[in-house]
Symmetry: D2
Subunit: 336 residues, 4 copies
């Protein structure tokens, strides 16, 4: 059994992660941390875990965790995460970081977009990006893995191969993404109150969302082509799911049929990517680790629709997928 610890266990990402790990036959959760005083049982903040996980929320003590865990998943917010990840990784424990701290590959870009100096600059750029569909080799032997952002996963998974296969042009990419509210976290804020979000849909952070440089960077890493995407995130009145509609120009003689066929073949062996003929809905992938995608052609544009569950393939499911790769288990264990 692999002993797993979870940092920042009170949010939605951690809850989803715990539920997946509880189904994993080779994992035992041995520690969950939070700044809550008095070591309350985790079920007191996540009633869903009643009778399922009987652990107290404990303070984060990197040294103590290192002794009781073989792997640590960090669900801490960015900046806070890097400090703890560094301490734990330095103590020799493998870490999957669900925060944004290790995703951008240079500290300048990190500082520009996150407004903070990095707490573990030496690892920046050396940590693999945790998209096993592309980086399984590096992930397998990594001490730290940077788990992807939810929006980036939904956009990169369809766009990167189309660019790599030279089926779309790199210089005119528009990504219009719609996310459920759980993506905004569990800290009480006016904007995420039920009576604000329900029956409402809005765009936010246009041109300023931190996932923008992440999308650019990873698409370039995979496809070898420089891109500067126009990325518009939206908040939609649902718990879960991201639907991303991307607009590109076809390259050469690419048609709807040829692009769809090439994409299907490209992903044939990836268990969590489903290239479909119909227009997928977020409900098709809710509570699963799948990313569904398809392609349409309209008036000289390629319209690419992709969707995933922001808390599963967009966060915790991907984290377990990375874990499986790192520890030599079948990639789909606990995920199908």
């Amino acid at each position: 059994m692999v002993r797993a610890g979870i940092l920042g266990a009170t949010g939605y990402t951690a809850l989803e992660l715990i539920k997946i790990l509880l189904r994993h036959p080779e994992v035992q959760i041995t520690a969950v941390t939070s700044r809550q005083a008095g070591r309350p049982p985790i079920a007191s903040v996540h009633p869903q875990l009643t009778r399922r996980l009987d652990l107290p929320l404990e303070d984060l003590d990197a040294q103590a965790l290192a002794e009781r865990c073989d792997v640590v998943f960090s669900c801490l917010p960015h900046s806070a995460s890097a400090s703890s990840v560094k301490a734990i990784a330095d103590a020799g424990v493998r870490v999957i970081d669900l925060s944004a701290d290790y995703r951008l590959r240079d500290t300048a870009s990190y500082e520009q977009w996150y407004g903070d100096s990095h707490h573990d600059p030496d690892r920046v750029g050396k940590v693999p990006y945790g998209l096993p569909e592309y980086f399984a080799e590096e992930i397998r032997s990594a001490d730290v893995v940077a788990n992807p952002g939810c929006y980036p996963s939904s956009a990169i998974l369809p766009l990167a191969p189309l660019l790599k296969m030279e089926l779309i042009e790199p210089d005119d990419l528009i990504i219009d993404a719609k996310s459920g509210v759980s993506g905004a976290g569990r800290t009480p804020k006016l904007q995420t109150l039920y009576a604000e979000c329900n029956e409402s849909l809005s765009a936010y952070n246009i041109g300023r969302h931190r996932h923008t440089p992440e999308i650019d960077q990873v698409i370039e890493m995979i496809s070898g082509q420089h891109v500067e995407v126009v990325f518009t995130p939206h908040l939609a009145p649902m718990d879960r799911g991201i639907l991303t509609t991307s607009y590109a120009r076809p390259r050469g003689h690419a048609t709807e049929t040829s692009i769809l066929g090439a994409l299907r073949e490209f992903y044939m062996d990836k268990p969590f990517i489903r290239v479909v003929d119909h227009l997928p809905a977020t409900k098709d992938v809710a509570m699963t680790n799948y990313c569904d995608m398809t392609v349409r052609s309209s008036r000289g544009r390629v319209v690419i629709v992709s969707c995933l569950d922001n808390l599963v393939k967009g966060a915790s499911g991907a984290a377990v997928q990375n874990f499986n790769v790192m520890f030599g288990f079948p990639e789909t264990t606990a995920l199908i």
Copy 2:
């Protein structure tokens, strides 16, 4: 034109009130208050009011308001409300208090349920309860009116006449009420986050909800019969609406048909009460000042279903209805 001021203008109740008053041909809103610094325009906290109400949020200065208003609506929280209401009413301006502060008719009961000593004890018990279907006479000439709670309105409107007409027994009343989330206010709290409330339904405050003594008291005032209701509120995943299912025992030879007929006749002249044959849904009354109700008989029980919009007939619509009565306008002005 009647000049109106609104205290505590940043919440949902105030927003609804403003939208109704903007349709009122005899009202001009002259002041809106809030503790926000810097006198921001009200549209900056309520984007719905853009181009509709061009007023700054100002500090609450009772004396200044008294000079600029003929009527003041208080949407302040309980306890805070009574202090301001007292100052404004003492200055000779009529007040409709949407808080709970003047609903209970003795200070001891208030202190027991609200855990606070009352800031305006002299008015307690002398202020009419703002249910114009029953207390229009007192409301007409009142300086202060206690606007009813949302749950109490939904329960009292069907139950009080049935008790008064001796069609149901007073000693065995169960009230199972389901409310939309806007009733919980606009202050950010974990419990009212979208991702907590959506796809979830729960009971809360069983046996401890502050609307319990209010229901008891007003039913007794209207029907002359002592009751101690069992009241269970629930939170349902919707913005608006309360559906209240009440269970009583029929008295004498009352049947479903006779009760329904008596209720229909009782409310024939009340413009906002609709006694219907079908089972009403909260959507039937959403955004309106109606209270729909019907009756069924099952296995020796009378099952009474009533519904209203918690922000309209349950709060701001009722407030304007009271205003119309107080200022001699047709009761339905701006409300139908």
Copy 3:
């Protein structure tokens, strides 16, 4: 009083229309039609109208309606609408057609997109497009008005003036629109069941939606520039509202600030258009006749966000706005 009849009164558009007309001081609804047998009261299909409109649903008899109405609103589906509109207009009664039948200005285009020959070909191309912000002059004296589609209104209102003022390029327009489910009508279908739509978001009819040629045509009529928009509609889990995110290229030296300023000035006198600085949400315009819009610049693109309530400014509110123009009432009567 203007006597109004409503054809096809059982759907959502008709219900919204009736609720608005009931608030109109100069209108009396005299007839509502539907194919329902037995002349049931309209409140039996729309419980919201209980005690508000006491009319039976009657068969559509154009001649009889012409005698009892000064204006007729058709909420019939396309194709069925033109037949009835023709009969009623030929009898000398003015008609506002909420269907798509008179929007496209040539029968060939109509036949191509709607797959039907037109039942009133002589009027095609002569009926004004019912967007009073642009065509008030023609609407004023028209016998028939073609009420705009919901998606087209949301896209045309921000894009047409930007093209007309030469602030964006005409040859590269992407319109990504998200609509609530009421837009799909009230006929029971698998795709619009609650348990299919809730917690789900999807694109549909990419490149094939019938609003595409309507958008092209009206933008061209207003701006004088030929466009072929890429239009992607989405279904979002909410009752009401359309949020449209459009992507264009700036023309000349246009900047975010200059475009926003020009747009604000352009619409200064239009009571239902609110050009705002913040990113608007559908909730800001729900149940109102407003269209809110703003502009952002990102990486060489102009991102334009606009929203409206699909049943009000997108259908029935616009119809009443047209009615007001046609009959000489203030444009905002019953709408603010």
Copy 4:
């Protein structure tokens, strides 16, 4: 491997059942039936099953199924179900019937409530009721099991033990239940359209719901006490979940604490029953086979709150739990 067939595979219950069985290490789904023409792949009606279950929807041929299945789950509607269940069970294959056909223990009651003569009268009353918490012994060896209704499970699980332990009185039971919309099935109907259900809550079938005699009967079987419950179902705007609030009178000296303690001890060994101190929400049990419950005391009443996922513990999860008992697998396999 146990070979499983599923009758009536196009609805929500069947989809949930398939998703659970796909996680079951000892099951292989070998047949799925539906009246769809042309043997379409099941993924064409359930896109969630893409790449997960590659079977065509075939016509229901009892004899052919009997040869290819070791167990059959019937998700057919009542009446239709009994005909097929009879044929398959007579052919020697074990059946779990998720319809209501075998729940009531006499044909007269069945005919009264379901308005149909029974198609397999010889088995009526001999088939165990599939609540393994109580009837595991009979289920273990049964050829046919009657899977419980969703509302009955939510009500029986807390009430039956309290009656059996003589902690509440049997002659005054009120059950106020609120269900998500998936419980109403996947056949398109006006009442279950998104735009009808969303933002709406209503009671339905008061005193006439077919689950009423099922609740009476099973409580009596378990507790030995005759009951006639007052049962009011409600439709709430959410996909999943039932929250049931029951009202009873305490018996003898029973208190909140003693009742809660007794209930907790009673269910200590049942893996899917969680007796909790807090007030549970449907979200706590969504997508799980748990039933959460607690007890409060108020003004001489015992208020009992219980909840479960109507499609899991209320239908397909319970079916797999029954399957596990019947085939000798650990009761929790594929369910935790």
